[in-house]
Subunit: 403 residues, 2 copies
Amino acid sequence: MADLQLMRELRQESNRKIVLLVLDGLGGLPVESGGPTELEAARSPNLDRLASEGTLGRTIPIRRGITPGSGPAHLALFGYDPLQFDVGRGVLEASGIGITVAKGDVASRGNFCTLDSEGRIIDRRAGRIPSEQALPLVERMSEIQIPGVEVEARHVREYRLAVVMRGEGLEPDIEDTDPQQTGVLPFPARARTPGSQQTAGFFNQWIAEARVRLADQPKANGLTLRGFSTDPDLPQFPDIYGLRAACVAVYPMYRGVSRLVGMQVKDFPGDQPEDEFHVAASIWDEFDFFFIHIKKTDSKGEDGDFAGKAAIIEAVDRALPTLLDLNPDVMCVTGDHSTPARMRIHSWHPVPTLLWAPDTVLPDDQTTFGDRACAQGGLGTFLAADLMPLLMAHAGRLAKYGA
Amino acid sequence: MADLQLMRELRQESNRKIVLLVLDGLGGLPVESGGPTELEAARSPNLDRLASEGTLGRTIPIRRGITPGSGPAHLALFGYDPLQFDVGRGVLEASGIGITVAKGDVASRGNFCTLDSEGRIIDRRAGRIPSEQALPLVERMSEIQIPGVEVEARHVREYRLAVVMRGEGLEPDIEDTDPQQTGVLPFPARARTPGSQQTAGFFNQWIAEARVRLADQPKANGLTLRGFSTDPDLPQFPDIYGLRAACVAVYPMYRGVSRLVGMQVKDFPGDQPEDEFHVAASIWDEFDFFFIHIKKTDSKGEDGDFAGKAAIIEAVDRALPTLLDLNPDVMCVTGDHSTPARMRIHSWHPVPTLLWAPDTVLPDDQTTFGDRACAQGGLGTFLAADLMPLLMAHAGRLAKYGA
């Protein structure tokens, strides 16, 4: 909390605007000895120009060697030490689709899954059924009544849903029911503390009712719940930094974490970089800070699709003039973590970071935006939670500390 | 403790093996303007190949500018913040020769010294008498009886011994009796707290008895004690990281600190790098983590022997294929601190660090293992206590933090 308090004390008014463009899972690895990373392989003349005029560095999302989930990684980019502020996946998911999770409510994230005749999981994501198949199933779920508690079940995307309970005496210290493997039964919801016993019981009743309503389904005949959590009561981003902050993101989880820190989350049609940049343009005068999130770099990384990930970076680069034409004062391009296509998973590798601020940046000698160029960059390698103070400073939005 | 707790929470099973090869006092300085450091001067083609395939960086043992002793420097390499975990030299020395120091015991490290006819120290190390001369003298010491306390005196190496007291109400807050200079009397053991008064008294009685038994000696006619300390009750390395950990080291102190953190300390004949690497080979299947310690780089540095220190690095390099033939998954070559031959003493300079992990490392542009190459390396300059999380990550032994 000390660092956020410092921001509150030092922040000052300015009309300079900040763009934080996050390419999810940006950091990568070479697939062959001596080869380039995804970012190095991508042809990205606009990003290279920004790199050349600005300065580079690398952010460590949590701590050296620690691989982050997306929630804590984004909190860090927003300036919150993720080891201090713990936000559950259930709350993130629910918030992402606009469900309010108040203090005392318990939210969880659900996945439809496929069970065999003995109830063992044979597909943890129910064949990744599309949204149009999942939506009517979630509607069936929403009819379930559990005495003593109010339940809200809402569809998220594809095979995913959010389940939130509201009532007296609920507590969220409950283990995931997803065993994270196939060939075994889902776990029941098991309380980690005596105070959470009753809540775990409510969720188990709900799961049993849901199973009855899904019994006729070929793929989505079961479900698992995880990330049981309640409102983390985070300090609010606009209060901390004095910024009118907008979130432009397609995926629910990123919208959720932005909403939890008090950003205004924008709805818009389309899901391409160009679409997202146009949204920023349409609200340019109303905000000081624009968090723009590109998901597909991470998705391609998790698919092991090196060329696909590089292509997404190229698509962002092509769309970038739309954003640059707005004349942001400070522009940062980074990732929340690395997702090397070679590893097909989030990793701990420090994340390439580009800071461009024509009026205030000390340029370094780097001329391209790449993982290795960033390792040699003028910003050095630093904790992601220290990025926001840097952006604030370059926007002239922090007063001097001490006389 | 927070970071060790994080390791406990995130560690996961893997069959990947980690080698931590520590060349004591590795970091150096040029002896002439424009010249190379010891590591840069050494011809080391194997290390250079690892540097070229892996990534470089530098570790700061304690904090910037702080010169470490060997005990805290090694704790840092094992992931323990040495400012948080304080281990006395007495305990390190005693543990190194296999003496168990339990909670409430008080251990100290002793040096034989030469006193003049008035009891002033004229040689703080008794002419560095060899082990065969010191051993029978320590046997005489071991006959000393002090009423009210049990005493164990054991020879360590050359002019050094360990003295451990066991009994009720002992406390270790006692000043060293070694005045760290010649021409003066040794200090008595002086308690820093009222609770340690009685223990200091026991040690003073013991020193007086020892002086009587050494009176006939031409060189070793006195002794000093320092590093009074008790069991620091350290969290155990295998529990923290989930690693079956072996220590391969010749010198007692390094074996001692390894034993204190719960590593299995191996006995073996010989004291050359090749001998140590063969030990690692002989126990390869039984362990996940191998701490291998090379002492002589530090000894040569303390002797001011630049060429000698470089020659030890070359000897390690020549023996390295024995280790590499085992196909470690993660290999780190570093030092516990710097010992520039030019300074003849430990120093605060960040320590050259090489990380090689063919499957998971992001290679940097460096092609040789040297002090300056490491300063430009892709890992940057970081606290030594952050090294273990990096090694764990590169071995696939840490799960994701948060969803």
